[in-house]
Amino acid sequence: MRIRLRFTKLGKVRWTSHRDAARLWERALRRAQVPLAYTEGFSPRPKVSFGLALPTGAESDAEYLDVNVRPERDVDLSTLPDRLTAGLPSGMACTAAVGLDPPVSSLQQVVTSCSWVLGARVPAAEAERRVSELLAADSVPFSRVRKGKETTDDLRPAVRELAVVGNHYTEGFVALRAELATQPRAVKPIELLAALWPSSGDDVAGWPLRRTHQWIGPSDAGVEPITLDAPEESYAPARAS
């Protein structure tokens, strides 16, 4: 059987990498005594697959992983999130667990876009102006390295939503909301920020990011890999310290 889990990554723990998070999860699953299914062969690994990587330093309300468990053992899904959270570091919490029966496509295949709240170290009026300019443009060329080669792509089609939603993300940052497509080719939030404010250079690498949703299909349909009962709508991230 496969189980899909949803979790948060907030506060100091956001500085762990995607790979670190995978290791943390393996330990948390063993601590909660989840009967993991292992791969065959020389070096058996638990069958765990993570969704889209979250950039190191970004926070998230909506991370996912799929876990294969041995079919002969029952797993109590109602208590599972709390048992897992007990074995995760502060700032990471399992918020939901569902059984996937029959198995469905992988997270990477089904997720089509993500919503983000982004901080920009610019004056509010400047933020409004640049956002309007970008939305009005037919294409926004940007360069990135793909397979070792620098290529130029168009960022504009991937920007499904972009708006200034507040003048205070955290001290000194304007808050933007963005929905960025992950297919056919994902655009990263930092690429959007760099395209909006090329003159900020490397500084954008330190601007705060928070993934709020991962969507399956159009976001107005509201379908997520696991939809929470009471999704909180807020752009001001809680800052654990």
Binding site: T16, S17, L24, L29, Y38, P44, T56, G57, G87
Partner: protein, 646 residues
Amino acid sequence: MTTVWPQLESQLARVQKPARYIGCEDGAIEPVHRPGSTSWLLVYPDTYEVGLPNQGLQILYEILNERPDAVAERSYAPWTDLEAIMRSEGLPLFSVESHRPAAEFDVIAFNLSAELVYTNVLNCLDLGGIPIHSAGRDDRHPVVVAGGHAAHNPEPLADFIDAFAIGDGEEAVTDLHEVVADWVRSGRSASRHSMLRELCTVPGIYVPSMYEPRYESGRFVGLTPKHAGVPERVERRVVADLAEWPYPRNQLVPLTEVVHDRLNIEVFRGCTRGCRFCQAGMITRPVRERPADQVRTMIDDGLRRTGYDEVALTSLSTADFSGIEDAVRQTVEGSAGCGQVSVSLPSLRVDAFTVGIAAQVQRARRTGLTFAPEAGTWRMRRIINKLIGEEDLYGAVESAFSQGWRRVKLYFLTGLPSETDEDTLGVAELARNCVEIGRRHTHKASVTASVGGFVPKPHTPFQWFGQNTVDELNRKIGLLKDTTRRMHGVQLKWHDARASAAEGLASRGDRRMGAVVEEVWRQGGTFQEWSEHFRLDRWTTAMARHGLSLDTEVYRHRAQSEALAWDHIDAGLHKDFLWDDWQDALAEVGLPDCRWTPCYDCGACTGVGIEHRVGSPVPPAGGSQGTGQDLSIGGEVPVTLTGARS
């Protein structure tokens, strides 16, 4: 409470591996700095990945934090990218728990596991805004202490450290804490000097500023205590019974990958195999085993709490642990209910019995197995007292390849006392024979011979030996390179001979080496254990400027009558025992393990009134394999059994 977290966090996107600096490990405490409590900052002066797993630091962390009047946090050397930002932004060295500035702690304690970290010690103090010289500190500054194996020759850091703790730290840390805590609680009413004077009376504590070094015609000739009540020699501390110290109870589980990222359980401390090059084996005597049932409990509790799927049973020679077979079997069979668990044995003995245990623990992943024969010929192995017969090694290798391993790694030292080119080339010969054995079982058989330059260490029989020069080590490595080039299946790896030279001068240097360490640090020489940051010319230039040279300090053979820079540190071993053992080495005479043979009076047991504490009155299963011992003389020796404690 003061914290630099907001300033630090705003910079973390600019550095590699920011998770190094956030703390949040499972097992970490949430520090509460109360008025009247004494605060410790435990610093491992290398990267987080190298320092976090250090068991010594974690043990002290727990012991201190269990005290109501102490709070301990941790810090690690920031990598060069963060250091540059810290210096430009004016950010001080900080603890990883509460990100409190180092200078706000009452005590800064360094773990000295190796010598090449010395320049990092100075860098950490400087980043903390603390004067690097003890003489430059006053009542406002933290007390700077240090311990660990390298502290057994404290002199190269004598100018910078207020007090060293020599030997096991479990009890010494409490005694040290009480003196400093009294001083802190009194509002530091007494002078720093008088507090340090009092520290001199604590067993195992060495306060270098209370001693005056003497030199005659450019040679160190001894240290004189400056005041009454300052002991001439400082005796190392020894914990008699490991069972009383089941630490760490809450091993730290980091959020990011570190070395030895697994549950580590120390199964015994000390080793009496008697390898003459091995400082750890000499200074940690006698052997003190942890009772098997405590090992089992620590494994079960540890796995359940941490979620690790790997346990390392640590010691200097884990196959010698009396309870090894049961411990391995029970762990692999998994009583903790946490899924598949593998066991790693970081120090394998070279024999077929050991391979049998390895086969139990590595049922699935049989990729590589590592042995340390240390020298290429039987003559040489008698000299270093690593009494492994060729038949033991070939038996082990045969056993490994026949049970599915395809790669064997062999560790060797070169530049050993009286080593001839024939001895050096014996390394290649052994490796080739091992490949041939492997070929009988798999055409993929490969053997890696890893060769390091030998660095003589204080408190060992080889402390009088003049280290091989960089050129000589390179010549020997070159011989091996030429010989193994056409050996199919043999790969040669070697350690940078220049790094061995620097390690040599830091290992046996006297107090004058402090100025050299300082200058190398001032020239930017931090992270000297990292090849990308190491440059020998910084060390030789600094030595020349202070009238020292590799020839006199590192390459020269010491005489019996000569004063050694660490003579005032009593590591338990009689100097005449070490000298006799050195003479035995030169005469190519081996010395069996004293756990199961009569005592040689090395001094380690008698000095502290304790004996080897082992779980079995007879040598471990596998008998003399790998030791070359004649066991017929061993049956009568009384041993203290861990199970039979009163």
